[in-house]
């Protein structure tokens, strides 16, 4: 008859889940922050170039406005993408915790 140390199973699950959360969410946060920084820098460069093109008469006022508003649309789509990728990370974490639970249970049952 096997003696199951439930306390040790749950400690193992807790430790592994914590490590998984740290790995997944730190990585996601780093990527999201870098993505936002890149976008801001790119938008700054774009705006500078559009102002110059407007001043030279290469684009009209309407076209300039379309570009500026279009950049706001891209920013919104980018934010939606990050929200979606965040949801994917949560799903990944949930699946990972399930694997940890099953694995910890079978490791502990050494009959």
């Amino acid at each position: 008859m096997a003696n199951i140390d439930v306390g040790s199973i749950f400690k193992s699950i807790e430790d592994q889940s914590k490590a998984l959360a740290e790995k997944l969410f730190k990585q996601y946060t780093r990527q999201a922050v870098n993505d936002a920084k890149d976008f801001l820098q790119k938008s700054k460069d774009d705006l500078k170039r559009w102002i110059e093109e407007l001043a030279r008469g290469d684009i009209s006022v309407d076209e300039f406005e379309s570009l500026v508003k279009g950049q706001a649309d891209v920013a919104e789509m980018r934010a939606l993408k990050q929200a979606g990728l965040g949801a994917v990370q949560i799903d990944t974490f949930t699946n990972g915790v399930l694997d940890i639970v099953v694995s910890a249970a079978f490791t502990a049952i050494k009959i």
Partner: protein, 189 residues
């Protein structure tokens, strides 16, 4: 006796089948049952405790719930094809809108098909919201560009080049989200 089997496997130390069962017992609602290989009629039962069942059940429940749709190859191809075709048509906007009206209509239909495909998928509201921005003729992405072309009949080469960069970036947000979704193989692992 057990009312429902929820997990099964083998003990790693001995080749004995092991199952977790949910029971109606008042003391512990989950039990580990081992079946000795030599005598399959004999069954050893260990109660684990109802508190632990809650945690285990929570994990099982969570694993069955996804927050977002899984990756879909067809949706990915719709988005990448639409990007290529949109940028190709935009290059023609220095010419008269009337000359390219049929191509514009074909592109709008292509975008509508991609949108409708994604709309039919479960847990896909975020991608739908992205398509809404991209297609809306009152905003300043693809829909707005086509409206502007129609209103002005032709557009400047500089503006088209800038807008192509921007709209390419907009499509990339849909494509990157789709490719970041969990692949079916990973979901079942």
């Amino acid at each position: 006796m057990p009312s429902r089997r929820i997990l099964s496997g083998q003990s790693p130390s001995k080749a004995e089948p092991v199952i977790f069962v949910r029971t109606l017992s008042s003391k512990g609602r989950i039990q580990v049952v081992t079946m000795p290989a030599k005598n399959k009629l004999a069954v050893n039962v260990k109660s684990v405790g109802s508190g632990n069942l809650i945690a285990l059940s929570a994990c099982m429940f969570l694993s069955a719930c996804s927050l977002i749709a899984h990756y879909d190859q067809v949706a990915y191809e719709h988005a990448t094809n639409a990007k290529v075709d949109t940028l190709a048509l935009m290059s023609k906007a220095t010419g008269s809108y009337n000359e390219h009206q049929k191509e514009v209509e074909a592109l709008i239909t292509q975008l509508d098909k991609a949108y409708e495909y994604d709309r039919g998928r479960q847990l896909n509201k975020i991608t739908i919201a992205q398509w809404d921005i991209l297609r809306d003729p009152n905003r300043d992405s693809v829909g707005g560009f086509l409206e502007m072309w129609k209103a002005k009949t032709s557009l400047s080469a500089t503006f088209i080049a800038e807008k192509k960069r921007q709209i390419g970036d907009a499509f990339d947000q849909i494509i990157q989200l789709e490719s970041g979704k969990l692949k079916p193989a990973k979901v079942t692992e």
